[in-house]
């Protein structure tokens, strides 16, 4: 499988500061994957993500995009940023125009695409994020979740292979959060977009393909969720946690229940199933 993002012995420190934010990171994100990155506040997650579309360049080691572009080479930056989009926490920070469809057309105009092509892409991406009816509205009239959908649409319009979501749901209300998560999954499953996401809400990453845990500047885990979340004590010591259902299932197990379920429980459905099974065994 082709690597969309690959780091080789990546290290970073801020100017005039000795302390390394991270060092010797070897990460490979393959085309079509959905990967969650976890780490406590100050673990260097956001700094790492900014390396992936050349907003920050490595102090040590290298970042290779799509197996051909080294982020150290300024000539590649435009290509890289079209290939890997970045969605931030606060949607307000990425909206530039006064009308939704103009906002999405903005980057495409900068690319010098023909008018017809721009129109086609704008309509296409607005439909993907379910915001087509809002295309003539000013962004300030939208809710936080809707603004975030516009942010995603403007990145989609560039037809990226990968999108990085840096805590893209942390400022949204429960419905906004659900909508964005649904779109993220759809982009990955239906359109094959490679997804990289960070979040502090562990329930959001229970269903990704792989989780990378950063701790003290190193990769502590890089594995499937059901394997990473086995390490509850260690994750908690790092300031992280595990999904609520997983915690509940483990706590019940510790008290002698759910002894039949061997696999780590990650979803509400699995949890209810395990309880019903336990009831069946007991009755």
């Amino acid at each position: 499988m082709r690597s969309i993002i690959q780091t080789e012995k990546l290290g970073f420190h801020y100017p005039r500061q000795e302390r390394l934010i991270f060092e010797n990171l070897n990460i490979s994100i393959k085309e079509g994957e959905m990967v969650g990155i976890l780490g406590s506040n100050g673990s260097g997650k956001s700094t790492l993500l900014k390396h992936f579309n050349a907003l920050i360049r490595p102090k040590k080691g290298a970042v290779l995009i799509d197996e051909k572009w080294n982020t150290k080479d300024p000539e590649t930056w435009l290509d890289i940023r079209q290939l890997v989009g970045l969605v931030f926490q606060n949607p307000e920070n990425q909206i530039v125009s006064t009308i939704v469809e103009e906002d999405i057309a903005f980057a495409l105009e900068n690319l010098g695409l023909p008018r017809e092509e721009i129109k086609k892409r704008v309509n296409e991406v607005l439909k993907i994020v379910n915001m087509y009816e809002y295309r003539k509205r000013p962004p300030y009239q939208l809710s936080g979740g809707q603004k975030q959908r516009i942010g995603i649409a403007s990145i989609l319009a560039m037809r990226p292979k990968g999108i990085i979501f840096d805590e893209a749901t942390s400022m949204l209300d429960p419905k906004g959060r659900k909508d964005i998560l649904k779109i993220i999954h759809e982009l990955n499953q239906k359109y094959g977009v490679t997804v990289l996401m960070t979040t502090h809400l562990l329930d959001e990453v229970a269903s990704v393909d792989r989780i990378i845990v950063l701790n003290k500047g190193r990769i502590r885990f890089d594995d499937k969720p059901e394997i990473v979340f086995e390490n509850r004590e260690e994750l908690e010591a790092m300031g992280l946690s595990i999904p609520t259902v997983t915690k509940l299932a483990l706590d019940l197990k510790a008290e002698g229940y759910l002894t039949d379920s061997k696999k780590l429980i990650l979803t509400k459905e699995e949890f209810v199933q395990a309880i019903q099974k336990d009831i069946g065994v007991r009755a």
Binding site: Q89, M171, P174, H200, L240, T244, K268, A283
Partner: protein, 288 residues
């Protein structure tokens, strides 16, 4: 007597302009000592405006606000004094840090309040302990701290003024699970020491369900639901209509209740949820 009383508040932004928007329609609320009130509502429902109304940063178009029985908008009322008594910590308060040391930043409000220097020191040490930072932080630059530590410093700067009503807008957004817990625990500790009332605005139904004793759910400028968390979270459908949700614990219990009618779905805290599921599993055993 209640600390704050808000009666039939109505407020519009951009009054008498083409952009006029009615943000609060008819809000009434009483805040008593030792209350821990959770405010939930979708983005744009009026939560942040309500906060600004509470400490007199915005003047309502209609309705009245009383602080300990005194109308805060009557002539001669000391609004500056009110803002020491009703402390607000806005979203991302760490963006408002600006002094060269943590100590100076926390002391900033105390200096403005006119607290003598000798008293400042002990007050600062006290709040530092409440938010869980070591004294070695006092001489550090706030800008060299991690996001979570900066949030704690900002919170300490609000707490040190000893407000009787402490209002926080999304105090834990963007914080990792451990820091989130520490922030909520420090709020509880502050409340236990001062009998103050705390109002927290949050999008996390899980956090709010663990700590709040009362909830209000705002929608389109009105309070549509209010009561204990159990009362409010018993309205799954109405909450969903308001772009809100029940905590994941309540939703698990609802799923279990479909097959096991004895399950009490009126539970929201983690430990109570665990106990209820154990009860269900034990019951089965005893039937046998």
């Amino acid at each position: 007597m209640n600390l704050l009383k808000i009666e039939n508040i109505q407020y519009s932004y951009g009054k008498n302009t083409p952009f006029e928007k009615e943000v609060l329609k008819n809000i009434s609320l009483e805040v008593n000592a030792n209350d821990f009130i959770g405010v939930i509502g979708h983005t744009g429902s009026g939560k942040s405006t309500l906060i600004k109304i509470c400490n007199g940063l915005l003047k309502p178009d209609k309705g009245q606000i009383f602080y300990k029985g005194e109308n805060i908008w009557k002539k001669g009322f000391d609004l500056k004094h009110l803002r020491f008594k009703v402390g607000v910590s806005f979203q991302y308060p760490e963006h408002q840090l600006f002094c060269e040391t943590v100590k100076k930043d926390i002391a900033y409000g105390l200096v403005n309040k006119g607290v003598p220097e000798e008293e400042q020191e002990s007050k600062i040490r006290q709040v530092l302990k409440i938010v869980g930072l070591q004294e070695s932080y006092l001489e550090k630059s706030p800008f060299k701290l991690s996001g979570g530590e900066m949030r704690k410093v900002a919170l300490a700067g609000t707490m040190v003024l000893e407000p009787e009503v402490l209002i926080l807008d999304e105090p834990t957004a963007g914080l990792d699970p451990k820091t989130t817990k520490q922030v909520y625990e420090s709020l509880k500790e502050y409340q236990a020491k001062t009998s103050s009332s705390i109002i927290v605005v949050s999008h996390s139904m899980e956090d709010i369900s663990e700590y709040a004793t009362r909830l209000i759910a705002l929608d389109d400028g009105n309070i549509l639901l209010r009561g204990t968390p159990a009362q409010v979270f018993s309205n799954t459908e109405r909450l969903n209509d308001m772009s809100l949700d029940v905590p994941i614990t309540t939703s698990i219990l609802s799923m279990l209740a479909q097959k096991n009618p004895s399950v009490n779905t009126n539970i929201y805290r983690y430990n109570d949820t665990k106990a209820e599921i154990i009860r269900l599993l034990k019951d089965v055993k005893s039937i046998e």
